[in-house]
Symmetry: D4
Subunit: 224 residues, 8 copies
């Protein structure tokens, strides 16, 4: 790492896309999961050197330590397996993003979505534990849901909540299936299919457990 | 068919299970779909000869014609692809079976379930077109749903309705997925998985499009 | 149909959701595919009687004939299997919806999306035959793509185009997989999975061949 | 946890559904599996504070310790990964629930079903190791099976036992597939499909390894 | 077809394996299904010219006509979609093959297996309509089943019968899943998986609806 | 375990099927995998007490220790995860069972099959590392293969070997897919499907990695 | 079609990629299957107008008629559902492409591959009906196979032939699975997986029934 | 291992195919993954004794230690889980192999492909981190890509890169899907299907994560 190299270049590891901000308007994101802590650490150092706004997702404790060694002031939210640098999100613009977690077990994904939307510059509200088995909990939050420019719903098991929410609001719903559930949930396949087949229109589906993707999409939708 | 044979014997085709009534208390059922009209006609004749109460399910027009040739007074409900003989159901006993059809397209399956439950001796009520995309329609029928000993819900697409209903009533819910939906419903797989993963307990799942099975199970549950 | 009934009530068939416009702000949609022409005709008559703005999707020629008998001035676009009533879309508001068809074979789905977005009140542009196998065709339309508030991409086979487009624009991309392709496309499963795994963030996936759903979601996103 | 909060509220974790007993008539259930021991402990404390009857399912030793710290007199059955509080089930009402375990390996799921039914207020009997490979073992228990209001059958591998039992009794059968078996059982998929396709009617299928769901459904069916 | 060619050679279509009898001891088999009637007719002519014993399987009426044009004395059993030439099977040797059809709908596959075994030189017995939903029917044929050197069982739906039969006899059981059943049978996948997971050992599984393969395997097993 | 109980009864764990030998002619088999070492130990003790011939399959070291504590003279073959008691197989009768391992990695399954066949009373021969990628290795063993009453083939990856072997011998082939291979082998699914679709007839398929089942079936086939 | 338009432009239908020849060196290909005959006819007319070398694949008789109306001298090979224009392939260069058809039923796909390779400028040889069930047929053609620069193998069912061929030759093997087979071939899934898991290295897999793709890839490999 | 044995024979473990070099022209390859370190060590010793050129793939540290004990001068590249002996590749012949890694996480597979191609005698170039989400990175390397005789592309997630590359070059593309990605990548299934459905022709697909297979196929294609 000591040889000189072009900005954004992590030799033999990655090319940071430094003009992505210009091109797409959003921070760089580093998916830590399949990388080694060493690779993540090298990328974090380059991010610090170039002053690029960045998110680190799916960070294990070892990944987080590597990031914090390079960027000591980074924000680390272990529950969401996420780090953000710089730690403060930009001043919010655009519409409100409401993030709904169907059950306690969907919270890590919901939190990842919420933090991502914040660091892409949106105001957010988080609603917890409002599954379809207790409709009154959803109905009790109807005013908040209807004030959103976009609603993110994280749900495992039957994945039924996005359909219900989409039937109640005029805004689009970003549905993120989680891998929570008994055997026949098949690691998120059941809620994924359920959400793709939502009987209310207006449901945008993203990958299983992909809170980052849900938050990013929501931030783009709520940009104006 | 002209040779003498034991009661219930349709040579080279089927053995009717004439003491099934005694053993399980319910009529014989003939799944017409994969049989030839000739086979179904021979079975119908034997049913008439032995005076066995019977249902004929998944009957195409050709199957129906063969049954009606042998049992001219049989009840035929084309929408449900079902025939019943004798045409009148037995005097109802037990609890109320409420059958709910999530959408117009689920009606054939819902009607098959309703008629089956009737001919197994239950009172029934049918509720049409009350999907989760319009919750107020479900909530408007809450009193009826809560008066049931068992609720049957037929739904395709996201299969979310049984979860919602099960969260609203104390009675068990029999969920029957239908093969209605766009491509990623995969011919009923999506609502099937959704129902197996219902987040409210108390959901009993049967095979895709199997209105007969749903009605039969409901009749057994509502026997007392 | 001659008995008096409540507005929106099609006895034994459907409950039209007449206050949906108020509640969600968009027209009623009737999925014709799994219904009989008679059912669709009865619904069309009720729509005419109550003056409800409506779309009829997945309409076979027989369905279309039934709609046109009840609503003779309805717009019918056979290529997209769609009818709209009243035939003129509302005055457009919100942002631009650009609809991209990866190949000629994806056109019916792309057209369904485009017409849906128009009748939900958006301006639209259609771009045809710009698959990833010829990148220069995509790059040639970059200015148009970057002027959109949301881009809809219909693609079968490898479903790679949404990923490429999402990497080029800041707006969200609605990806609709089509069932076009050789055997291992498995009727749209391959592009569906590809789109859910898009390596660029900002891709919202809807059901296979669901042009209506894509257009609806796009209209909601581009509402402001 | 020291700030004052509304009854049933576990801040940032869960909303206990305290009037569920009133609404559905059954105890609260806490699925421990995907929660942290800390979350489970906080919920257990709130359950103790509000005097709510509750079951804790899929509890690892760490979960169990957290529950027992908050509710020292809770019943813990490690084999079934279940805790119940208060430890004594309510006085039994309704009909008899017979739980059948096809093999030794299906016992944990069968026991979870049995205990759940007991704590929902039913009398239960457990029958062990009576697979279809040795029919005489099933036939030897026919009197007990026929005395049940509902029979729960837990089976892995070919999942054939519910079909056989349903052919022998008039009561409904709740079938719970287990993830026991060689590779082509695909973690419970084989018995799940087998049970959904049972050739005897009257089989209600629940999720793979979901003993809690099976017991709950059985208790509802046997309520009268 | 008028040019001279080597024995067994059907130019541009097939190479008959005339020494297969010597090498494996069994007749040639021609799978008609995916071939054109013209191709099948050319093969039949070559079979007649070379005097090769042969079976024609999965023969539609058009295939059958082509075979009978070339081999007028061939045996044709339409129910089993099979033709045999010469029409008389060889003198039987080896042990008894008992073929069991679980339901009426499984008969075509069962008959194909039975006829194949006969034309490979075995004695056969056919038992019809003895599914697991009525165990007494199976038990009534126990003596016959136990006299077999091998039992073939054709079953759709839950595919549970081979497991039950294998638990009752010492002989191996050849299980052939059929594509009969409701949606979640997935065209034979459910009974296929069920049979592969039979809890009694001694079950040999062949392809879905492959009566020919089942009969062939049974004939080999019963060769001595 | 100290209370008196009926022979074959392991209270709360299992019913040994002591007359299985009489009924089916083969030893008891205990699938250790999903049982606890304690359960396996209790069963082993009962087997010793009743003098029942038995195999213990899928035994981890902990299972093996529990068996050896109860039956110190049992044969333990760790490579095949199998124990046999008594250690000596019965005097061989019937025909020869040849077991073929396609690759080194398939050896554990092949060995399990070989040992099972031996302990069910057959002579066996083992052939190692003869995959289809090197046909000359298969052809070099043709004489041995043709001397078998039945050939067992264990293969992972493409599962092509059984097809090749079945084309070379007149005896039936028992094919056992193994879970060996790269990602798209999907834990044995690829060779399983390959074997079910073998283009040579005479292939009997058993479950993935089920060497015990393969050996058992082979022993039954080679009984005479 | 009468308005003036840019070369290669078929308004509202397709953009022909006229410089593809320059860019990739191969003719334009039109996949007819999912297009209407009218669309195909319009494209054929444009191809004639611009003098572009082209293949039309998956052409039904109606597609073929539309092409021949526009390009009367086009070569039409119905068996392979292919048309080529101009009818004569270019002068061959590069190495030999040997195309092998495992069974008679795989011939259409094999022929499509052969013709495609010819029209991309390669010499070809076709070998018919040499499945692994009769290895001697493969071995008899070993000299031809070893003289190829690349071998294309079309096979359904177990898809085992590419593995065998790849073990015999030093050249790469292009494997194209076909949808031929019984139920558990799942429309080509079985041979597809088998080929992906070939135990001999050097197997390049293409889509199910994609003879065009196989021939194209082979032509590229054999370019030098 | 001390008894004398034939060259290439590792008793009870493997038969090395020493004349494979002669027959196919490439080194022996040992897939370590499913073998024990002891088995791998014994094979390595035999390789050293016979002086056979060899690759060891999917080698864990324990496998590597066993190889290095027997062949101390072997090349070990831990990142690619590969060892080569002798350590120096042969003098390169044939065309250039360019290996492209879509993301940092695909590097291990890409490196395995690169090293394999080198040790089969080809010149190679490696291009890192050029996914379709940033097309400019691909386009920046166009000259290198167009100079290749064959391009290997390793990609997970949407697997879209091979389609894009194949549209840009005239050479064949070897596509190797990796198991990198969120839940709905289903361990490489998504990119596998995507690559099989590449809309540009000329894409040769190999097994998931099979860098060795990709490198081997590429070396064969680039042989001349």
């Amino acid at each position: 790492m000591t040889e000189p190299h072009a900005p954004g270049e992590v030799p033999d590891v990655a090319h940071l896309d430094l003009d992505r901000g210009a091109r797409r308007g959003y921070p760089e994101a580093v998916l830590c999961g399949p990388k080694t802590p060493e690779q993540v650490g090298a990328i974090a150092a380059e991010i610090g050197r170039t002053g690029t706004r960045a998110l680190f997702t799916r960070a294990t404790p070892a990944h987080a330590a590597a990031v914090l060694a390079a960027l000591p002031d980074a924000l680390h939210v272990p529950e969401a397996q996420l780090l953000a640098w710089p730690p403060e999100p930009p001043e919010p613009t655009g519409g409100l993003v409401v993030v709904v977690s169907a059950g306690t077990s969907d919270l890590p994904v919901a939190r990842e979505a919420e933090l991502t939307a914040q660091h892409l510059g949106r105001r957010t509200e988080l609603v917890v534990d409002v599954g379809v088995a207790g409709l009154h909990r959803v109905l009790a939050r109807l005013d908040l849901l209807r004030s959103a420019r976009v609603v993110v719903v994280a749900a495992g098991m039957d994945g039924a909540l996005p359909s219900v929410v989409a039937g109640l609001v005029a805004a689009p719903v970003v549905a993120v299936p989680t891998s929570v559930g008994y055997g026949a949930a098949f690691s998120g396949l059941a809620p994924l299919l359920s959400m793709l087949n939502a009987c209310a229109p207006g449901v945008a589906v993203v990958n299983i457990d992909n809170g980052y993707g849900a938050g990013h999409l929501a931030a783009q939708i709520a940009a104006s």
